[in-house]
Point group: C2
Chain length 214, copies 2
C-alpha cells in the first residue's frame, strides 16, 4: 500500500520548508517509509474532493489504503504507532513526549504563526507596530520558558521524538526575526535537528517542488 | 495512587467552565476515575514549584505517582490509554479521533481563543473592530466547515470520544457571541455533550470552586 500525502503546489513560504507537510515528510524519512505527494493549488484545497479528506480544506493529509488522516500532529502519532523511532515505547515517557507534541502546536505555535500572518497581512495598518510588539512579548515568554526547560539537553524529553519534529518546525518559522537569538540553546537545538539526514531529505524534497514550480 | 490535577483558584471565566481543567475533569468523570484538585493563584503559576510540573506555567497539570503531564490534549490521550470509553480501540478509528483532537486544539481553538482575549484586552484599541471582524470571519469559516462535516451525526467520528470533549469545550467559548447560532447542528452538538452526566458532574465541580472563592 502506498502512502500519499498532500502539499501546496505553490507554497507561500518560498521553499523554506515552513508548510506543515514538512513535518510529515520529515517523520516519514525518519522511519524510512517511502511516500507519494499529491500537489494542490489553493483553489483545489477548497473543492469537495479535497474537503472529503480534510474538513477544513488544508494540507497535509495522509492516505494509506482506507485510512485518511488530517492534522500533522495526529499523522505523526499514527506513524509512531506503526514504526519505531518517533515516540518512546515506555508508557510514561511516551505520554510526556505527546505532551510536548501538544505544547508545540497549542502553546508555542499560535503566537509564532500569528506573527507570520501579521507581518504579511497587517504591515500597512496603523496598529502594526503595536500588534507586533504584543506578539513578540508573548513569543519571548514562550521561548524563555522553553529554553529554561531544555537547558543543555539535546532533545525535549530524552531521545529524539515526534515532539522535536513539531517543536523544531514551529521554531524554524522564527528564522530571520531575531527573536530566537537571545536563547542560544534553542538556536543550537534547531540546528541539531536540521543536521539530521532525515530532515535534510525532507527539506530537499519540498524544495524540489518549489524549484519545479518557478 | 491518587490522581491530582491543577486548576485556577480564581478562574477568569466566572464559573462558566471555560478553563482547560474542565476538559480533564470531564474526561476523568467519563471514565469514573476520582481525582484531587490543587488550586493555584496566578502568582503560584509562575513559581518554580509549578513550573517544574508545567514548563509554561499554565493549568491544568496531571500527576499520578511518578508521571507528570501538562497539555489537556495529551492528558486525555493518556487517560484513553488507561481506560475505555475515550478513544476507539480499532486502529484507524482511533487515529481519526486523534486527528479531531488536534483539529479542535490547533485548527478551531486559536481564533476562538483569540476572540475571547481581544474582547477583554483590546476593546479600547483603535483596531478593535477590525480585529474582531477578521477573527469572526475566520471563526465562521471554521464553524461552516465543521458543521458541514458533522451533518446530522451525534459525534465527530462515530462514538463519543475525547475529540468531542475537546471540540465541545472549544465551542462553548462562543456562548453569548451569536456566532454559533447560524449552525443549528453545532448548537445541538454542544447541548448533547452538555447533557452527559459526566459533563454535568465536571461542570458542578469547577463551579463549586468559583462559588467558594466568592
Amino acid at each position: 500500500m502506498t502512502i500519499t500525502i498532500t502539499a501546496f503546489e505553490n507554497s507561500p513560504d518560498g521553499g523554506r520548508g515552513l508548510a506543515r507537510d514538512m513535518r510529515v515528510r520529515w517523520a516519514l524519512e525518519e522511519v524510512g517509509q517511502p511516500y507519494d505527494v499529491r500537489l494542490l493549488s489553493f483553489a483545489a484545497l477548497k473543492e469537495p474532493a479535497h474537503k472529503a479528506l480534510h474538513p477544513f480544506g488544508q494540507i497535509p493529509t495522509y492516505e494509506d489504503g482506507e485510512l485518511v488522516l488530517f492534522e500533522s500532529g495526529a499523522i505523526l502519532i499514527h506513524l509512531a504507532e506503526r514504526h519505531g523511532g518517533l515516540l518512546p515505547k515506555e508508557g510514561n515517557a511516551r505520554a510526556r513526549a505527546i505532551a510536548w507534541m501538544f505544547a508545540a502546536l497549542n502553546t508555542v505555535e499560535p503566537a509564532i504563526f500569528d506573527r507570520s500572518l501579521v507581518t504579511i497581512l497587517e504591515r500597512d495598518q496603523p496598529w502594526f507596530e503595536h500588534r507586533l510588539r504584543a506578539l513578540d512579548e508573548l513569543i519571548r515568554k514562550r521561548l524563555g520558558d522553553l529554553s529554561a526547560r531544555l537547558g543543555d539537553a539535546d532533545w525535549l524529553d530524552g531521545a529524539f521524538s515526534a515532539a522535536d519534529i513539531l517543536m523544531v518546525t514551529v521554531l524554524r518559522r522564527l528564522h530571520g526575526t531575531g527573536l530566537m537569538e537571545a536563547y542560544p540553546n534553542l538556536v543550537a537545538y534547531v540546528a541539531r535537528a536540521e543536521a539530521r539526514p532525515a530532515y535534510q531529505r525532507a527539506f530537499a524534497a519540498q524544495r524540489a517542488v518549489f524549484d519545479a514550480a518557478r
